[in-house]
């Protein structure tokens, strides 16, 4: 044994009489854990820096005068450690610490949400004394205090382990809670005037004093999950259940393209809470507040439970049986097939459901008019013939899985364009921040201003007027320099599509510099829909529709006659909407699409009104279902199994959490397809022993088998687009170029029904630079009106370091629905006035 070369970076030590080899610098508590020895602990967390705050993990180390905290003690050669299992000294020390921790703990376990899953409860049982020698009055605080609309702090229960403050500082970068005061009055709290001699209210409630700062972090829910006692609890789950009557199911988050693994707890067919799952490759042990708390929409009162069919006589929607509704949908689509049917599946689908739409459109409807993108595809004013984004996705994204979270963390340098990671992909933000904090990852942001998220990433700003990103990517030396390091990454967001030439420049830059390129969409289903073929120019698996060999491959796999698959690229979302509005299309098949998300909501609604036949597959009533001729209710995420594909291209499979009779999109489409005839070359069909073609998307496993059995695309990857950058608009006096993106917590339809979560949203403001503020004569907090010919948005001003003549608005926040109110997207010129709308703009609004 001694012949084995001893690695220089390992040491050998003894724990409880067992010799063990550990890496140098490893903590004693981790080594013990690996051996299966559980040392009680509160403050220790594997993803947080050691603190040694609670002292519960005391162990005896030979040669040390006193017991040492194993969560801060690194291993050393020849160290002899005795835990509570073999050392009465350690056991007594731990029992003593527990007694001290409980001196001021209120022991109100019956009313505490943590009761039943509380490390303090459990370890008081396993390592504590049977009784306490302290019978004095316990310290009392006002309980509980709201430190945000969602998070409640009960300082009596707190044992000052500082997990929450360390998480907020180290991981999220939101230092809103901290230790305050000294000695026995030491407590966790948010920054309030009370603590700095101000005129606080004194009752401990945050937010009343002038300078009070609530706990406004997008990651605040994680502090609740890692709190080892019940000091931090969430308003939404408060008193709702006990762990013993919850049923837990591993699940995947449906909110964004980050792909977090989660745990969904339900009781009596109702989801009560969601927790961050533990997936070291993706979300580690964290998630964002949107993923944690945004699940109430599925229980909304406007949930659809039965199919609806528009009554021929009254013209109103009425409830119908499934067979009637399916038949109505099939007949309507069959009649419209000649004129053309547009398919808008939306970006919230699982891979399986997206594949069902893609297959249904191609094989059954015989069209390539399918597009998952429910957002502006191009800058306002760019001709609809430009297919830059679709070409870019076909060339550089579909079917790839090149950049992972680990690459992001380990990259030397990252350039981010068209993406605000904290608002649009929070877990990517956490990973970037981890790289920044631990590995000095250099972040370069090509954005109008350094947002709070970028500031926390220590990002260098390449200030870009919206629309100018393409030129900067082509010419800026700072960007080229940042990407010159080996392993550098270029991360582009979906918003870059609204910059003419932006995606072309990004693909070109990546090819030139050798940096790897990652495309980060906003919705959970976007990437999966892309790979499943919900794009006018792509078939499933990234096969170009124009490639005859690719079509033949699919015809074979789908057992349909060759020639059924259309060979020319179809219309994209904008052109489908336009064609529906002008009467070219005979029908629309719409999945989870909210017209308000589209580039021009008003035109989209006109198109939905104008199209002769509209089929809607929806979970809840929406602007689409109200206009539909046939509404088919489908299952929300919790009631179905499926797979999301995150921005990396990683599959995130999940099972159904709740049993329910609701069907998936795929199953509904299969049922419609069964009523339509499709020319099939299935051998059995020739003998008329079977009906022939089946969409075969009714069962998730069947789809997975079909997708798994498909050969890899043999078609060559198309070249990336080379669109030239457009000229920048020149805003005149009282005009500015609009910059806009979504805030994480906004008016999205998956955040409906939860006022508590909405309360943690960042307050919507209009950001403008000093130049515009002076021109308008406004200071911070004054109302500013942003208008176009269509309407206005009025919000308080926040003076920000923006490029000249640029104004920023949240895309879809309370009081600021940019697409609906203004009818434009980023890069457009908008008018500015101080105060509430003037007569000219107000007239525009009422038009």
């Amino acid at each position: 044994m001694t012949d084995v070369a001893k690695r220089a970076d390992t040491v050998t030590l003894t724990i409880d009489g067992v010799e063990v080899t550990a890496e140098k610098g490893e903590l004693v508590i981790r080594v013990a854990e690996r051996m299966g020895i559980a040392i009680p602990r509160f403050c220790d967390h594997p993803l947080l820096a050691p603190a040694g705050a609670c002292r519960q993990c005391l162990v005896e180390v030979e040669g040390q005068r006193k017991p040492v905290a194993s969560c801060t003690q690194t291993v050393a050669e020849g160290m002899v450690v005795k835990t509570q299992l073999s050392s009465p000294v350690a056991a007594k020390a731990q029992a003593g610490i527990m007694e001290l921790l409980l001196v001021n703990h209120p022991l109100d376990c019956p009313t505490c949400d943590k009761g039943g899953e509380c490390p303090l409860q459990n370890q008081a049982m396993s390592s504590g004394r049977a009784d306490s020698r302290f019978h004095e009055h316990k310290r009392e605080y006002e309980k509980p205090i709201h430190i945000s609309s969602q998070v409640l702090l009960d300082r009596e229960r707190c044992i000052l382990c500082q997990r929450c403050t360390r998480f907020s500082e180290e991981i999220a970068g939101d230092k809103f809670i901290d230790l305050m005061d000294r000695s026995s009055g030491e407590q966790i709290n948010v920054y309030r005037d009370d603590f700095f001699g101000g005129e606080g209210t004194g009752d401990g409630q945050a937010g009343d004093g002038e300078g009070d700062v609530p706990f406004n972090s997008y990651f605040s829910g994680n502090t609740i999950q890692i709190c080892p006692v019940g000091a931090l609890t969430g308003e939404q789950y408060r008193f709702r259940a006990r762990p013993f009557d919850l049923v837990s199911t591993p699940s995947a988050c449906e909110h964004c393209a980050a792909g977090c693994s989660q745990r969904t707890d339900h009781r009596r067919n109702k989801v009560l809470r969601r927790l961050a799952g533990d997936d070291p490759a993706v979300n580690e042990e964290w998630n964002c507040d949107k993923g944690r708390w945004g699940f109430r929409y599925a229980n909304a009162t406007d949930r659809l439970t039965t199919p609806l069919v528009r009554d021929a006589d009254s013209g109103e929607l009425r409830e119908a049986s499934w067979s009637e509704a399916l038949l109505a949908a099939a007949e309507g689509l069959k009649a419209a097939r000649e004129r053309g049917v547009g398919v808008l599946p939306g970006g919230r689908l699982t891979v399986e459901d997206a594949y069902a739409y893609a297959k249904f459109a191609r094989a059954v409807l015989g069209t390539n008019d399918i597009d998952f993108r429910a957002r502006p595809l191009r800058a306002s004013g760019t001709p609809a013939s430009s297919t830059e984004e679709a070409d870019f996705l076909a060339a550089s994204v579909a079917g790839t899985s090149e950049v992972t979270y680990a690459d992001v963390e380990n990259a030397p340098s990252v350039v981010i364009v068209g993406l605000e990671p904290e608002e649009e992909c929070p877990i990517l933000f956490l990973r970037l921040r981890k790289g920044h904090v631990k590995r000095k990852l250099k972040v370069t942001a090509v954005a109008p201003y350094l947002s709070r998220g970028f500031e926390k990433l220590g990002a260098a700003l390449v200030a870009a007027v919206p629309g100018d990103e393409a030129r900067l990517l082509n010419t800026d030396a700072a960007i080229a320099g940042a990407l010159s390091a080996p392993g550098a990454l270029l991360i582009v967001g979906e918003r870059l599509a609204t910059v003419p030439g932006g995606l072309s420049a990004a693909a070109d830059l990546a090819a030139r510099s050798g940096a790897r390129l990652a495309w980060v969409p906003r919705r959970a289903g976007d990437r999966g829909a892309l790979d499943a073929g919900c794009l006018p120019n792509l078939l499933p698996g990234g096969r170009p529709v124009t490639d005859a060999a690719a079509r033949a491959e699919l015809s074979l796999a789908w057992r349909i006659e060759s020639g059924v698959l259309p060979s020319s690229p179809g219309r994209d979302t904008d052109r489908i909407i336009a064609a529906a509005a002008d009467g070219t299309l005979g029908a629309l098949l719409v999945g989870g699409v909210d017209p308000a998300d589209l580039a021009d909501p008003r035109l989209a609604e006109e198109a939905l009104d104008a199209v002769p036949f509209l089929v809607s597959l929806e979970v809840r009533q929406s602007a689409v279902t109200r206009r539909a001729d046939v509404v088919l209710p489908i299952a929300p995420v919790v009631e179905k199994a499926g797979t999301y594909m995150d921005w990396e291209g990683r599959l995130r499979s999940f099972v159904a959490v709740l049993p329910g009779a609701a069907m998936t999109d795929g199953r509904v489409l299969e049922a419609i397809a069964a009523l339509l005839d499709v020319p099939s070359n299935h051998p059995a069909a020739a003998q008329k022993t079977t009906k022939g073609f089946s969409l075969n998307t009714g069962d998730v496993m069947a789809i997975r088998r079909e997708l798994g059995g498909m050969p890899a695309s043999s078609a060559p990857r198309p070249a990336h687009p080379s669109t030239a950058p457009a000229d920048l608009p020149r805003p005149g006096e009282h005009e500015a170029v609009l910059a806009t993106w979504h805030q994480l917590i906004d008016l999205g339809s998956l955040l409906d029904g939860d006022p508590v979560l909405a309360g943690t949203a960042r307050p919507p403001v209009v950001r403008l630079g000093k130049d515009l503020a002076e021109e308008l004569g406004v200071v911070d907090g004054d109302l500013v009106t942003v208008g176009t010919g269509r309407g206005t948005v009025t919000l308080p001003a926040s003076i920000t370091d923006l490029p000249p003549r640029v104004v920023w608005l949240p895309t879809n926040s309370p009081g600021s629905t940019v697409r609906r109110s203004l009818g434009v997207t980023a890069g457009a010129v908008v008018k500015l006035t101080a105060g509430v709308p003037g007569p000219i703009l107000a007239e525009g609004a009422s038009r």
Partner: protein, 211 residues
């Protein structure tokens, strides 16, 4: 001979019983009185001001080996207060189709909110009625009690209800025993006028039914 003495022996038992106290009960007209600690149906007790003692902690449900108890907690607010402190039982159900009357729930109760009465007449003609909710389980309001929701009358905070609670015996007076059981000092051998007996949920007579 043996047959003859054997018969007398047997009749001896019979005759001896003729002079003993009758053990047949005249149920339901004079129901027998159970032992003082008989495990009957549950009661959710009240504080002397009428606030509920139950805090919705679900420990009873946790302790229940038959999974007969379902509790959902709720938030007390200053406007809507049902119990002292932060938490109350928004939903409280005991399913008597499942309950085995073991009493583990009342041992688990941290506030002595849940106790058991002597009432044993729990038969119902359908399963739904066997699920008792707060409406059936809460102790009746005694004089001086006020129907919640109402503010705390016995102190400023919930601590006044719990710390030094010796002065607050709480009360289930009048409920811990079934309504008729204290009055029923008779034993089964003495016939009782059925009209004297207060009606309980289990013995509500139908209109016109023969007495």
């Amino acid at each position: 001979m043996g047959t003859l003495t054997g018969s007398f022996k047997g009749f001896g038992v019979t005759f001896a019983h003729m002079f003993r106290k009758v053990i047949t009960t005249d149920y339901p007209f004079s129901p027998p009185k159970p032992a003082p600690r008989y495990h009957g149906r549950h009661i959710l007790n009240r504080h002397p001001d009428g606030l509920e003692k139950c805090i919705g902690c679900e420990l009873c449900a946790w302790a229940c080996p038959a999974d007969a108890i379902y509790v959902e907690g709720g938030d007390n607010t200053d406007e809507q207060r049902f119990s002292p402190g932060e938490r109350y039982a928004k939903i409280y159900q005991i399913n008597y189709a499942r309950c085995i009357f073991c009493g583990l729930c009342i041992e688990a109760c941290p506030t002595r909110s849940l106790t058991m009465s002597n009432e044993y007449e729990l038969a119902r003609d359908n399963r739904q009625d066997l699920i008792f909710t707060k409406k059936e389980l809460l102790a009746p309001l005694l004089p001086g009690m006020e129907l919640p929701p109402h503010p705390m009358r016995l102190g400023e905070t919930d601590k006044d209800y719990y710390i030094g609670a010796l002065t607050n015996p709480g009360t289930s007076v009048g409920a811990e025993r079934a309504p008729w059981s204290d009055a029923g000092s008779h034993d089964a051998s003495e016939p009782q006028e059925s009209a004297d007996r207060p009606e309980t949920a289990g013995t509500v007579r139908k209109e016109g039914a023969p007495r």
